[in-house]
Amino acid sequence: MHGGLDETLLRILTPTVIGILVRRGADFARAEDAVQDALLEAMRVWPDDPPRDPQGWLVTVAWRKFLDAARADTSRRHREVRVEGEPVPSPGEVVVDTLQLYFLCAHPSLTPASAVALTLRAVGGLTTRQIAQAYLVPEATMAQRISRAKRTISGVRFNQPGDVATVLRVLYLVFNEGYSGDVDLAEEAIRLTRQLAARTNHEEVAGLLALMLLHHARRPARTGADGRLVPLAEQNRSLWNTRLIAEGVDVLQAALARDRLGEFQAQAAIAALHADARTYEETDWVQIVEWYDELVRLTDSPVARLNRAVAVGEAYGPRAGLAALAELDPALPRHAAVAAYLHERDGDPMTAARLYAEAARSAPSLAERDHLTRQAARLNAQLRS
């Protein structure tokens, strides 16, 4: 936090100001750098001297930074300064709006990590330092990742229509990253997806927004005070944010009404069914299985099949779940954890304990490993007594 500085306002204005600079004739890479410099200056100056017109201030400062950098470049190359004064917009000029920035920053030629970093900076208005902190890498590394990304897309024209699916994948990655650093990436992903939903009329954008809202609503219940993972069955549902759940359900229903199902809508529907249950026992597992069937049909994702096996176990009994699991590759991440859960439900704590311990050894995160180890320990203690 920076005293009285409204960082959210800066973030909202960032893509607009980049668009204005590009419309005035700046290329994207330089415009983006100039706006980043202007943001850093705003963070220094605004707390003591807030501007009356924040957007005008940012445009003026960013344009000056752009001209300075362009002049420095030009004099380095001993060439004529051509960017003096007011640039003349070319006829049929490309109108750069925020939506086009989303597409550009998620361009398919970028690696996922580069697209994430560039989106957070150019669309999200985060500083390089904030992004570096969130991803636990040095600031210099993140700066290089961003400038490489800008070089990669330097030949891409703004007015090329983009694919919404690539943008959604980037936003999903940002949301799923977790909560390290001083910027809450989950909230930032929601803000960017909300902003995208306001500018497009695409059912999967709404689907992803609903999915994020429904997961974010349950976040306070998902970890205990000591940082441990709390499984869905044991979560204190009074900690769920009912306002976010209601919003998520509304957004989802409007999307589903358009009858063009996609993977994010299907995932959001599953999340909505979980959020809708007052207790774990009241969960409508039969419907959840049906949504997983849709999700498998849409994505053919092994992760969806694995989660489906859990839902089948809840809806039709652990034997049915184990049968569904038997059709899947045991090498899948979390396969052993699902098997352990279903075997315990099936009354075989010995097998379950062994599988929980096995799952703990291959857990992808510390919190999950601790959780799985605790499950194994609980069953082993039970077996001893």
Partner: protein, 135 residues
């Protein structure tokens, strides 16, 4: 992106192909080696994959709690300890294959005679933060 630790051992790894102790290299060979490591780290920074690199001295001390109000007990260094870490580099890369590729490059750092050491490095993935959406 996943972070990997590239771990360099004083002891405990299989012997390298070019197995001449550093104190028997020429000063020029030492400089070339150090320069190679610096260049490698600098290049990884430009590709946006560098996180950290550190070197450790060989002398480790084992220490443990010895009860309320008592000073910690220390022991070692143990000459017989099989595994002795010399240092590490942490990288942040898209794939496991990329981690292996970079580790192999690091293993090719020049040693005696200016030839690659072919040193064995251990590649260990970091445990990540739990994903938000898992169900």
């Amino acid at each position: 992106m996943t972070k990997y630790l590239l771990l360099k051992h004083y002891r405990g790894a299989p012997p390298p192909v070019n197995d001449v102790p550093m104190d028997q290299w020429t000063p020029e060979e030492l400089s070339a080696h150090v320069q190679y490591m610096r260049d490698f780290a600098a290049r990884l920074e430009t590709t946006g994959e560098f996180v950290d690199t550190q070197a450790l001295t060989p002398d480790g001390t084992f220490v443990r709690y010895d009860g309320e109000g008592r000073p910690p007990v220390t022991d070692g260094p143990f000459a017989e300890t099989k595994d002795l870490i010399a240092g590490w580099m942490v990288i942040d890369v898209e794939t496991f294959e990329r981690a292996l590729e970079l580790a192999a490059e690091l293993s090719a750092a020049p040693g005696a005679g200016g030839k690659p050491i072919y040193e064995w490095l251990e590649v260990r993935p970091f445990l990540a933060a739990p994903a938000t959406i898992t169900e």
